[in-house]
């Protein structure tokens, strides 16, 4: 296919769209999907057919609109009306109000900070296009970036654009993506591979899932551009088997892209060939670690191995391999389309672009948001998130999942960037953000995450295998009011040792939730200790003063 063919392809879709006066968007991503949104879609379609409106109005299943707490969501375009908590019974009400004033009982306000404070790059098509339709993606400028890159830019140019964009890995550690690309490009190997890491395993995280479900072609386009830049001819998308909808849509997208020649041999009549296959993870959290992921893709046990050698030099089957997180790759088409300067103008000095967060816990607007880097935690939680429900007081926000930490209220005005979050003892992580109110016990929070790390440890290295279990047991004792000062001391020793000596990132970061809660909420631990006596502590001070 050439650009001359691609443009009419997009135009025909746009023309078709113009025939319709209205488009009704029904969210068919996981959260709404599980609330029966396919049935809603069918009910609305049936209602439109019954009213004889099928020539002027069409119904479309779309990806996540973000505000999952109010789902299932239905939007009417171009009226700009958003309906919340819809059931198939509401179909008649929704169709009846088209072109008229919206049904007040069902409508969800759209002029709130939740919508107007966000900035969408990765999620620009989510909630707008049909994830099952490649035409829809092409009409939204899809695959034009790949076309232009293949025809107009040398691989070196693509990498320099990535370097200049300042994009950093969205999987957790924030390694500069351009640097990774250039390392793989320089590595020598008979073959090279590109892997998309969609093994999102943090509790409370659903960013990659949403991206894969709402806009699967964006991932494929990003992977193809990456493959061209580093010289790879085969890609793998590693998705958890727990994401059946994402897998279904990705498979469908791969089939469509192959059919139109966007994947396969001689893409856009250039010498560049690239294929993508899906590999399913069996639900192990540790397989998000790149060396364990590679072992799993190879068909082996998902155990990490010591690095170096890094996958960039010695990866899949020993060949140089580029591994990027799904969200990182989803940024690529936009960077190529709008330029590195456009991207690097968004965000802060060290953290460019936007970040998708899965906002959950004790916050009003639970859902998926995309915000520019540098926004404060307070803006995210209180403006976009709508604050804490039931008049409760904010206590802490947990970022980075089991590898991250809890941030208390006094640091809510810190900007969200890789460095500042690290300074606070947490990490950016993949984007899980769990808000806790005054009713949460921080010791319980630490115990919960330690239990997660303990049960997800692969068991290869001793500090992680035994250390997480020992730390969990100590936290359990303390949380039940049976712990002593000695236990707390031992817990801290273990945190230090497991952090310093574990083989991979899972073990090295497993103590983070404990360390950060001890840093900001130490009194909660102390109050639970059997031998903690605040009066005795005061009395001891007084006695020492008297003797002096």
């Amino acid at each position: 296919m050439t650009l001359d063919e691609l443009i009419p392809f997009a135009e025909s879709e746009l023309e078709e769209r113009e025939q319709y006066e209205h488009e009704i968007h029904v969210c068919v991503s996981s959260s709404c999907h599980s609330s029966n949104s396919e049935a809603i879609k069918d009910a609305i379609q049936a209602e439109i057919d019954a009213k004889g409106m099928s020539k002027t109005c069409r119904v479309k299943g779309v990806g996540c609109m973000g505000i999952c707490a109010a789902g299932p969501m239905v939007a009417v375009d171009p009226d700009g009306v958003l309906y919340e908590q819809i059931t198939p019974d509401h179909a008649a009400d929704i169709v009846a109000t088209i072109d008229k004033s919206p049904d007040e009982r069902l409508s969800h306000p759209t002029d709130t900070p939740f919508f107007n404070r966000q900035f969408k790059i990765v999620l620009e098509n989510a909630g707008k296009i049909d994830p099952n339709s490649i035409q829809d993606y092409i009409a939204a400028d899809g695959y034009t970036a790949l076309y232009k890159v293949l025809n107009e830019v040398m691989p070196k140019g693509v990498i320099s654009r990535m370097m200049r964009s300042g994009l950093r890995g969205r999987g957790g550690a924030g390694y500069p993506a351009g640097l990774k690309w250039s390392t793989v490009a320089k590595a020598k190997g008979e073959r090279k591979f590109v892997i998309c890491n969609g093994d999102e395993g943090d509790p409370g995280a659903f960013m990659d899932r949403s991206i894969m479900e709402a806009d699967p072609h964006r991932i494929l386009e990003g992977m193809a551009i990456a493959a061209y830049a580093v010289g790879a001819d085969q890609g793998y998308i590693y998705v958890r088997a727990e994401y059946p909808l994402a897998i279904k849509r990705l498979k469908n997208a791969i089939r469509q892209a192959k059919k139109l020649g966007f994947l396969g041999d001689n893409i856009f009549d250039t010498p560049f060939s690239f294929n993508v296959d899906i590999r399913l993870g069996a639900g192990a959290f540790v397989c998000g670690e790149e060396t364990a992921l590679i072992a799993s893709v190879e068909g082996g046990r998902g155990n990490p191995r010591p690095r170096p050698p890094y996958p960039a030099a010695y990866g899949l089957w020993g060949y140089p391999t580029l591994i990027n997180n799904a969200e990182t790759l989803a940024n690529v088409p936009s960077i190529m389309r709008h330029g590195a300067g456009w991207f690097s103008a968004i965000g802060t000095e060290g953290s460019k672009g936007t970040k998708v967060f899965a906002l959950s816990g004790r916050v009003k607007n639970i859902g998926l948001i995309e915000v520019p880097m540098g926004i404060t935690l307070r803006e995210i939680i209180f403006d976009i998130g709508g604050g804490i429900p039931d008049g409760k007081k904010f206590k802490a926000v947990q970022t980075g999942g089991p590898s991250g930490g809890c941030i208390p209220e006094e640091y809510l005005d810190m900007p969200v960037e890789y460095e500042s979050l690290k300074e606070l003892g947490s990490i950016m992580g993949s984007g899980g953000m769990i808000v806790m109110d005054e009713t949460s016990s921080m010791v319980d929070v630490a115990k919960y995450f330690m239990e997660f790390s303990m049960s997800e440890s692969c068991g290869k290295c001793i500090p992680c295998r035994v250390g997480t279990r020992q730390m969990h047991d100590l936290l359990d004792r303390i949380s039940k009011g049976m712990g002593t000062t000695h236990d707390l001391h031992q817990l801290e020793e273990l945190c230090d040792m497991v952090q310093a000596t574990s083989l991979c990132g899972l073990g090295q970061s497993a103590p983070n939730p404990v360390v950060s809660t001890l840093r900001y909420f130490r009194h909660e631990y102390l109050e639970l200790l059997t031998d903690y006596d605040p009066d005795a502590a005061v009395a001891a001070d007084e006695t020492s003063e008297v003797t002096q």
Partner: protein, 234 residues
């Protein structure tokens, strides 16, 4: 071949560029404790006992898989490392059932030796008291999982030297366990050649020959260099 000059514990040394820190240290009788490492088998860096400090870096690196670099200054025995190593040993003692007095390998055990050498005179960590099985279904050998430290030497020797790949690891985290075939009783294993290599490489009394009483399970030490020769001439 190019060479690197560097320091280990303030001693000036030189080595080939692909030598590991552990190789060079062993050559010069510098003690770095190891448990999962065995000459002749591929290193896995799992036991974390051989972690060493590199001056100017806060990150500890495993000596068994880290290649020497020009100008590198390695510290093998700082107080911090000693403490971590003792904790690793304590973790193993708390995880399994390591009562030397009733063990076939008493006196010939790597774990016992390391505990003595590293000065582990008591265990601070609570014992986990896990109940693990003993498989004595093989006609010559047996495995007591309670004494297994999951170093995977048996897994590697079976796969890399014998080529049978009878052993592997099942489950994960604290529930990890070495298994024969797809968790069949060892005696029923169709892949096991009964070569006994796993018995010789096991650092503890987990794998042993039947009919050995307490302290009688002596490893054949000449067997280990033989493995290495096998690999090099292969």
């Amino acid at each position: 071949m190019s060479f690197k000059t560097f320091k280990i514990d303030d001693m000036d040394l030189s080595a080939a560029e692909d030598d590991t820190i552990l190789q060079v240290a062993r050559e010069h009788d510098i003690f770095i404790p190891t448990l999962c490492f065995l000459e002749g088998l591929s290193p896995v860096g799992a036991c974390r006992l051989c972690l060493v400090e590199i001056k100017g870096s806060s990150k500890l690196v495993p000596a068994c898989v880290t290649q020497v670099q020009e100008g590198m200054e390695v510290l093998t025995n700082s107080e911090r490392l000693q403490k971590y190593r003792r904790m690793v040993i304590e973790m193993l003692f708390s995880e399994g059932n390591h009562i030397c007095a009733v063990c076939v390998s008493n006196g010939h055990c790597d774990l016992q030796y390391l505990a003595q050498r590293l000065g582990v005179d008591h265990n601070e960590l609570p014992y986990l008291h896990q109940q693990k099985p003993v498989d004595a279904s093989h006609y010559r050998f047996a495995i007591d999982h309670n004494r297994c430290v999951l170093c995977t030497r048996c897994v590697r020797v079976c796969d890399e030297i014998e080529g049978a790949h009878t052993w592997d690891v099942m489950s994960h985290g604290i529930d990890s366990q070495v298994i024969t075939d797809l968790m069949q009783p060892w005696g029923d294993s169709e892949t096991c050649t009964s070569c006994g290599k796993c018995i010789q490489v096991c650092p503890t009394g987990a794998l042993f020959k039947k009919s050995k009483a307490v302290a009688e399970m002596v490893k054949e030490h000449e067997f280990l260099p033989y493995l290495k020769t096998m690999r090099e001439t292969k």
